[in-house]
């Protein structure tokens, strides 16, 4: 009985130690591979990313937390290619940046310690939040939150996300409407251009043929 309990608890401990540090979405980075994510951001919005990086260790045969691993994050504005944020970070932590212009941004993450030929495999847990997480930290420090308060806070964040998405859709729809009307105008423009070309060609053809036949004295 005692041996079974020991075995069970040791199994549980081993299982817990190989679990990802944060339950959530994760992916693997091989060597100096870069993974990029795009986000549509409004002007001057703060984005916080929380991540945990673990390195595959051959001797332990599992993913371990290695302090030597360096993670680098770069953020580019997509249409112009401007780099608005570049940061080298420790294996576990968070990064923040503020978008300057509204538009598509590419957030790229890769390991900065891996050389060209190294075969380190990194497991990266990532959570991106388009808001300032500092607010959560300052409020939480005022005392442990009850679960209901935490859920209300999560709902507030979700409503903020919905509002942001709505204003993005509104701007995008305005652009779409402008483009639709421009295309409609161009249909008329190019048809008129075609008619003009047709008329000119007709006139030239008639004139040329008349000249040709008059020269041959057939008209």
């Amino acid at each position: 009985m005692a041996i079974n309990v020991t075995r069970w608890s040791i199994c549980l401990l081993v299982l817990l130690s190989i679990l990802p540090s944060v339950f959530g979405l994760y992916f693997y980075l091989e060597g100096s591979e870069q993974k990029c994510f795009t986000e549509e951001l409004p002007k001057e919005t703060m984005v916080t990313g929380e991540y945990t990086a673990e390195e595959w260790s051959e001797e332990h045969n599992k993913f371990i937390h290695n302090k030597e691993v360096g993670i680098e994050v770069i953020v580019d504005e997509l249409p112009s290619g401007n780099r608005i944020h570049s940061q080298k970070l420790s294996p576990k932590g968070q990064f923040k940046f503020t978008s300057a212009e509204s538009g598509q941004h590419a957030i790229c993450i890769f390991t900065s310690t891996a050389g060209w030929f190294s075969s380190t495999k990194i497991r990266l847990n990532l959570d991106l939040a388009i808001r300032d997480i500092m607010d959560d930290a300052t409020e939480a420090s005022e005392g442990t939150l009850s679960e209901l308060a935490q859920r209300v806070r999560d709902l507030n964040h979700k409503v903020g996300d919905i509002r942001r998405e709505q204003s993005y859709l509104r701007d995008h729809e305005r652009e779409f409407r402008d483009k639709s009307e421009a295309t409609n105008g161009h249909t008329v423009t190019w048809t008129i251009v075609q008619l003009v070309v047709l008329a000119i060609t007709c006139a030239w053809q008639m004139r040329h043929l008349r000249g040709f036949f008059e020269a041959r004295k057939m008209i």
């Binding site: 994510f37 483009k179 030239w204």
Partner: protein
């Protein structure tokens, strides 16, 4: 004699209690659902995989994806359970919204594969949520004391928060659906504009070329050795 025998069993019991306490604490502290939404650019012939961990059986994994731009707005999807058994395999799908019950503990993989495109990059918007079971009593004893209200009120608030969360999630999904459609519409309008321009140019060119060919043919009819046939 009895003391020596009790010592190892005490240690093991303590160990069991510590591990159980740690495990239940981590369950209690985790939120009701953890969702991560990301937008990833899958290059041509690229296979990109993302993973989620189910630590307890019977957890629900919700997976949503929608192709935002690129080619014909479709992608191949492959979802596998910890034993590499295929849970979902889709080819050339535009979007999908699925809920899986994670029967086994382990790593579930969600892979997007863009093998069908020679050069088109696909932008895929996806969200993976790990949902915990709604616990019967979600407040600990101290929180119940802290709330300073009758139990019925707290339960009612809990219930309405749960409904609010559900409704907001539906609004969020609907918005994502509209965003995907809007992107597609935008792409159609850009394509229409480009088509109008190029086809008009080609038609004008054709008109001019045809006029010249006609004039040339008429000239050859009336000149040279064919004069006798006219």
């Amino acid at each position: 004699m009895t003391r020596a025998r009790n010592m190892p069993s005490l240690v093991t019991t303590l160990l069991a209690v510590i591990t159980t306490a740690f495990f239940s604490w981590s369950l209690l502290v985790s939120s009701t659902a953890e969702a991560t939404a990301l937008t990833y650019n899958v290059g041509a012939h690229e296979r990109a995989c993302f993973y989620a961990w189910a630590d307890v059986p019977k957890k629900k994994l919700a997976f949503y994806f929608a192709v935002q731009s690129g080619g014909s707005f479709d992608i191949d999807v492959d979802v596998r359970d910890p034993n590499q058994k295929q849970m979902l395999s889709l080819e050339k799908e535009r979007q999908g919204d699925f809920v899986f019950t994670a029967n086994e503990i382990g790593e579930y993989s969600f892979c997007f594969s863009n093998d069908m495109s020679t050069f088109a990059e696909k932008v895929v918007d996806f969200e993976i949520t790990v949902e915990n079971e709604k616990r019967a009593s979600s407040l600990t004893q101290e929180e119940k004391d802290k709330s300073r209200g009758p139990q019925a009120q707290t339960d009612a608030m809990d219930e309405s928060l749960f409904r609010l969360t559900g409704e907001l999630a539906r609004i969020d999904r609907m918005q994502k659906h509209f965003r995907t459609r809007e992107n597609r519409n935008f792409s159609t309008v850009i394509s229409t504009e480009s088509r109008i321009f190029w086809f008009s140019l080609v038609e004008s060119g054709l008109i001019v070329a045809m006029a010249m060919v006609q004039v040339y043919v008429v000239r050859t009819f009336f000149s040279g050795s064919r004069r006798t046939h006219v």
